[in-house]
Symmetry: C2
Subunit: 102 residues, 2 copies
């Protein structure tokens, strides 16, 4: 993959970054399966789609976990917002598909 | 954590989402340690900070991995852009700190 001019130390670091990215992508794939299940469950019951209290708890927890792990808490909060935006996008896609199917 | 009115199935799904989020946050913390090392290595050598060819390979690889894992390739690409923006932010912070120290 790397050209001949890539120093071995850089190639080693990049290989580790690539391994972590693969792991993160696979965990995100699992996470979106779970949020799809949550969406189906909420549609089946009388639960509202959004839950601000749950979201507040998630933000506080991820900020604390990030801080412990040496990551900026602000980044953890941005990350959660980024993922939740995608979850909403999925839910909209599902809603549109259901409308089309009717 | 959950109120009494949370259905057990929803609580179960949320617990799994929380576990995955914790794992992802910890892997991101490791990933940023590695990109910091890359930044230090590049600063020590004559390597340019940005490497568009490396980035192109990363995008193609993550899109393929996402597709295999049942995740939208577009999301994987957005995720990488989100993380790289944070890496650049870290590098700028380090550069500012070095200027201040001089």
């Amino acid at each position: 993959m790397a050209g001949d001019d890539t120093p071995p130390e850089l190639a080693r670091l990049r290989a580790s970054i690539d391994n972590l990215d693969a792991a993160i992508i696979h965990m995100l794939a699992e996470r979106f399966k779970l949020t799809r299940d949550v969406g189906v469950l909420k549609a089946r019951t009388t639960l509202p789609p959004a839950d601000p209290e749950r979201e507040k708890r998630q933000v506080a927890r991820l900020r604390a976990l990030a801080d412990e792990a040496g990551l900026e808490p602000e980044f953890a909060e941005k990350f959660l917002a980024f993922v939740i935006a995608e979850v909403l996008h999925h839910h909209e896609t599902i809603a549109r598909a259901q409308t089309t199917d009717t």
